[in-house]
Amino acid sequence: MNKFAKMSSKFSLMLALVSLLSACGGDNGQDGNPGEPAKPPALTITSLKVTVDKVQMIDGIAQVDFQVSNQDDEAVIGVPSATFIAAQLLPQGYTGAGNSSEWQHFTAETCAATCPGSLTDHKNGHYSYIFSAPFNGMNGVTFMPEATQRMVVKIGGDKLADNTPLPITNQHYDWQSSGDNVAYTRNLVTIETCNSCHSDLAFHGSKYNQIETCVTCHNSKKVSNPADIFPQMVHSKHLTGFPQPISDCQTCHVDKAELAEQQNWHRVPTMQACGACHTQINFPAGEGHPAQADNSNCVACHNADWTASVHSDEDKTAALMQFSPSITSASMDANGTVTVAVNLMNPATGSVYSDSADKLKFINDLRVYANWGTSFDYATRSARSIKLPESTPESGSNGIYTYTIAGLTVPAGTEADHGGLAIQGRVYAKDKVLVDCTTELAEVLVIKASHSYFDTAALSSTGRRTVVSNTSCGNCHGDQKLNIHGSRNDLGGQCQLCHNANMLADATAANPSTTSFDFKQLIHGIHTSQFTGFENLNYPGKIGNCTQCHVNDSAGISTVALPLNSAVQPLALDNGTFTSPIAAVCSNCHSATSTHNHMAQQGAVFAGTKADATAGTETCAFCHGQGGVADVLKVHPIN
């Protein structure tokens, strides 16, 4: 716009202002009546919704107007207490070149029996709170009207006058002097990402349950220990016991379009954020890294692409995308010899590797396992396997080759049952491509294992019951990133091939269930820190929230629900005794003597004969079954 145009636009702006003034001429300066039209009053409350309408500054003192409603958008009147937290965000680079954006805490004011400011209940679901004093200068922070401001309203955790409990609710509202259209934000992670592993995170007496709330206090203006500033605190808290590779920043810094600053993890490196994990470095002292007085130089070496490439699995993923083995057919003869056909694909190109595995030099390992008896959790604890790179195929050509796995245990009368197959392996890769095993600095990568089922004639979609899935395990462990025994990572169907009811528990243990390598016992034992070697495990979610791991069955009912699937076998103890199936699995967690007595009184068998343990005397489902008075789906904090 040239000068003349600017002048004319200024002039027209003046005209507009003049006409605005005349339009507002009758205003008496009082606030309008908030909340028209009024909502109907809430009858029941299962969840609360707080809506911040606006924050306005009157003589430097903030007034926040907000509404409270229930799950049905009905007005909630008479909220007895509330907490208001105010903070300000300094933009990226403002505090120094290379520095990230930074929150500054002003104040947190709680109104209950007493109130530092003044909270007004407009009795129609609308509320107003006027802070006790101007923000400017509060907590030593200068209020900057153009900066992004945050207001957090926390209500709940108490009851209405009629004793209706109010669930704890945090709601944040970002604003600046000209309205709620802020120029910049600091939205890096969502609480949903945290809760995918942590269930319902809440801190400080469960009052605060949103990341947007945490950061308003966990900043340099509020906490005295720098280790408690949010980025540093969160990074360092996850350093030990993290259930998947810590180096993949995107486990938490997930790509989500609604997070404007989602790429900060690799675009804004700082000694504070990076140093919280790279704890061996003292940047100012120059220990473990060339001395750096501040963050101004970080990106000179650690540019965004470099940081992203070393902190993600991008290269490995690209290489792994070039190899996918699958079992294309399977059958079993009367001697228990399984014949399987294996196909090796390159999904990246859609083409088939025409050679057999023993001729493909990029394959480090490729194995197929087989076990029989999916309706009774398998016949043997040692599944049969073959190593394909060391086996000459029986027959085959053009990418489909046939192998045999001999000697499966097929108990008499189970010939009409099904067997399980699993395939796992490792490949050599370098710079995003699969390479020959002799390539210098080639890396060995573990492929995603998979399982399938078969009957005597062919592959089958019928197989072992599915209780957990790779997806549910992946919420904490990443998508098949947890490799056990080197390269077994199909937690949904592969592990159970060996970790089955044929494993023996220690009969002498106080709680034998937690000593068995049977998958269900092992997994419960590990995640409750009872299994030997896992005593220090700190389960990140609510352990009673069974559905964090358990999936629903084909009918859509949780696999935790009673009665259990009939395939579930009793717990075998190493003294030849057995514990009935429901008691065995529930007592893994519910281990108190009184609980055992309760189970025994209701028909459970502990360390009895196999005949007794399988006689079906357990009456648990009568009360704990679906719809029962103490349905397991209800008594557990399942959500």
Partner: protein, 716 residues
């Protein structure tokens, strides 16, 4: 009209020379459609052209002079005005002498400020219009800074620190820094030596009297010496250096032209060679090595290179129709030996010993101009240029700042092909008014840029009106729109650019230009001129990048001749340019915005009064003031203004020349300059202000400087 000029009494040239002078601007004259050969010359009595006042005298004529001056050289920048940076008394000689014989031979010596860095001398001998040989020297000096300090001294290809230097991790921890500082002179002296000549004559002595040829050959050698500001770094530690410059350029220009009635044709060619006395710049690091033993760094310097160009052109026409054709070919080559990829640790093997770089340029111009009727004339032109980089594409190892091997990268071969079409028509309504309108299209094809093609089309209209013999004015408006192929950010760079970014030189753009100009000339010696111009650039599809530029300026000038001896002049010029930019801190849509407001003011006034005291004294004074500044503001929620960025200058140039004898005169010159500049990027800084930049510190100037010169002239 040319004929009017020819009959002017001051046309004291031989006809042959005049024809050559005019043929030198023939192509332009053709473009304007007022070709010389259209003049009706049949009735001209050329013998009447002889000029009585400037009848060529034989023998010596001219003057010689000697200057003694006091020059304030404390800040060498003042030398850009005076021609020398010496502090104190300085001397120079000058001459403007001609020796002529009756037969037309002429030898001329012109010397100016010989003795100063920016002095010149030229000796010419021959028969003007027939043949001439010239020999020349010219010194050009550019003084930037002489008050900066640094611990570095240069020795051939090396920038060295004192022997007792103790390295530090940061600039604050270098114990020898303060005691090792030595002055740095950032100035560049260019010494040009020229030799050349021409030979001209009639193509056929008996034939067409108007057919001529001219062949010329000129050679120039230029030596450059001095130092320029550069910087070097190892990892994140950097130093500013006064990099020595010692290089030379040789140029040969040869041309042969022929012309006759209504036509001209010729070829010209240039050959040039650049030689750098330095092979590399090695510098001793002031810092404690971050990794390994990186005590030395090495930067490449400008490589030796060669270029040549051959071009041919022809033009001609008749009956108001004229055509000009031009074709040229240039080749630039460079095959200097590569320096190793790193001198810290083993250097990876380079794919070749030299770049063996070659860039060819083919250019072609076609122009037509024609007068359709007495009042309507049209012009059309087509330009074609193809730049073809024929260098081989190879995988080069990439060592980042002598430290980190980043794998390999290929050299980009940027090619460009341009096609320009211009169509113009001009219609004269009356002798006082005409209108002009035109269309232009500019097509550019690129390789290895974010856009493969960028095209710009535009129209303009101009209306010119002479209101009275004294008043005239014209108004011109132009609208251009640029677009092109799909914008696809290049993937060859190490860090990809924001997908929303549109680089300003490739972005879609709407441009509007308006110019209003008026002249007022009276017959009492007063003339006034004023113009107003504005340019608006709207990058209408740019989200991130330069989004808008608006430019507005005016100038007013006045001259007044109160008498033949007393002249006054004054001028004012002001320009504003506002640029708006949008950026993104989160590598996406814009979240920060900046505005750069640039403003420049130039004011000047002066007078000259000659022949005072009975033709003994001439005096004159000129004053000028210039002020350029830039204010940048970044708004990222919070508004952050940048600091000072300005340059302000007052100049006074006064002289008095007193003729105290018939052939002797004394001239006094007083030059004064008050200069101040500042740049927030280094304002108030010191050598060790930044922990990882060993800088020159504050690079601003602030001085009041005088030059007082006495020149004694002898008139032969």
């Amino acid at each position: 009209m040319p004929t009017a000029k020819l009959s002017h009494p001051s046309a004291c040239f031989s006809l042959t020379l005049l024809a050559w002078v005019i043929s030198g601007v023939l192509s332009q004259a053709h473009a304007e459609g007022y070709e010389l050969q259209q003049a009706n010359r049949s009735g001209i009595k050329t013998e009447a052209w002889s000029c009585k006042q400037c009848q060529s005298k034989s023998g010596h004529s001219g003057d010689v002079s000697a200057t003694l001056a006091y020059n304030d050289g404390e800040d060498s920048r003042f030398g850009n005005r005076t021609g020398t940076d010496n502090d104190g008394f300085v001397g120079a000689v000058g001459a403007d002498m001609v020796y002529k014989t009756q037969s037309g031979y002429q030898t001329q010596l012109i010397a100016d400020k010989l003795g100063f860095d920016a002095g010149s001398a030229k000796l010419t001998t021959g028969r003007p219009g027939n043949y001439q040989i010239n020999l020349g020297y010219r010194g050009l000096a550019n003084y930037n800074h002489n008050q900066l300090k640094s611990p570095y001294t240069s020795s051939q290809d090396k920038m060295l620190l004192p022997d007792n230097w103790i390295t530090g991790g940061t600039t604050q921890s270098m114990p020898m820094l303060q005691s090792s500082l030595v002055g740095q002179d950032l100035s560049i002296q260019r010494d040009r030596f020229m030799i050349g000549g021409y030979y001209a004559g009639k193509i056929s002595p008996e034939g067409d009297n108007n057919s001529h040829y001219k062949a010329s050959l000129n050679y120039q050698h230029e030596d450059r010496s001095g130092a320029k500001k550069t910087s070097a770094n190892i990892l994140t530690n950097s130093v500013m250096l006064a990099q020595p410059i010692d290089d030379s350029t040789d140029e040969i220009d040869a041309r042969v032209y022929f012309n006759g009635t209504g036509w001209q044709a010729g070829i010209n060619s240039q050959v040039s060679q650049y030689k750098n006395d330095h092979q590399a710049m090695q510098w001793q690091s002031a810092y404690t090595p971050t990794f390994g033993a990186a005590y030395l760094g090495q930067n490449a310097v400008d490589p030796d290179s060669k270029a040549y160009r051959v071009a041919a052109e022809a033009s001609g026409g008749a009956n108001g129709q004229n055509v000009l054709m031009h074709a040229g070919f240039s080749r630039m080559t460079q095959d200097d030996t590569f320096i190793p990829a790193t001198i810290n640790g083993p250097s990876p093997v380079l794919p070749a010993d030299t770049l063996d770089g070659q860039v060819d340029i083919i250019e072609m111009i076609l122009k037509y101009s024609g007068r359709i009727t007495q009042d309507l004339s049209v012009q059309a032109s087509y330009n074609y240029q193809d730049r073809d980089n024929k260098t081989a594409k190879l995988d080069f190892p990439q060592i980042i700042t002598d430290s980190i091997n980043q794998g390999s990268a290929q050299n980009s071969l940027y090619d460009k092909r341009t096609k320009k079409l211009e169509l113009k028509g001009k219609y004269r309504f009356t002798s006082a008014a005409y209108a002009e309108a035109g269309y232009s299209r500019n097509e550019n094809d690129y390789t290895e840029l974010d856009r493969q093609s960028v095209d710009e089309s535009g129209v303009f209209a101009k209306l010119s009106y002479r209101y009275s013999p004294a008043w005239s004015a014209w108004l011109k408006g132009e609208a251009l729109e640029r677009d092109g192929s799909e914008y696809d950010p290049v993937t060859t760079t190490q860090s990809q650019s924001n997908p929303w970014l549109r680089k300003s030189y490739l972005a879609d753009r709407k441009r509007q230009k308006v110019t209003l100009h008026t002249d007022y000339q009276t017959d009492i010696g007063l003339s006034l001129g004023a113009s107003l111009h504005s340019v608006d650039d709207d990058f209408h599809h740019t989200q991130v990048g330069l989004t808008q530029v608006s430019y507005l300026g005016y100038d007013v000038s006045a001259q007044y001749a109160l008498s033949d001896d007393l002249h006054f002049s004054a001028f004012v010029n002001q320009d504003w340019r506002d640029s708006d930019q949008a950026g993104s801190n989160h590598f996406s849509t814009p979240d920060w915005y900046s505005t750069a407001e640039e403003k420049s003011t130039l004011i000047g006034a002066g007078f000259s009064y000659q022949n005072l005291f009975d033709n003994h004294l001439d005096i004159g004074l000129d004053y000028s003031y210039s002020d350029g500044q830039s204010d940048t503001e970044v708004v990222y929620g919070i508004t952050s203004p940048y600091g000072d960025f300005y340059a302000r200058k007052h100049n006074i140039n006064a002289y008095a020349k007193y003729k105290f004898a018939d052939s002797m005169s004394l001239r006094v010159d007083w030059l004064f300059e008050k200069y101040q500049d500042a740049n927030w990027q280094n304002q108030g800084t010191n050598w060790d202000t930044l922990p990882n930049v060993l800088s020159f510190g504050d690079m601003s100037h602030d001085y009041n400087a005088h030059y007082l010169g006495l020149t004694l002239s002898y008139q032969m």
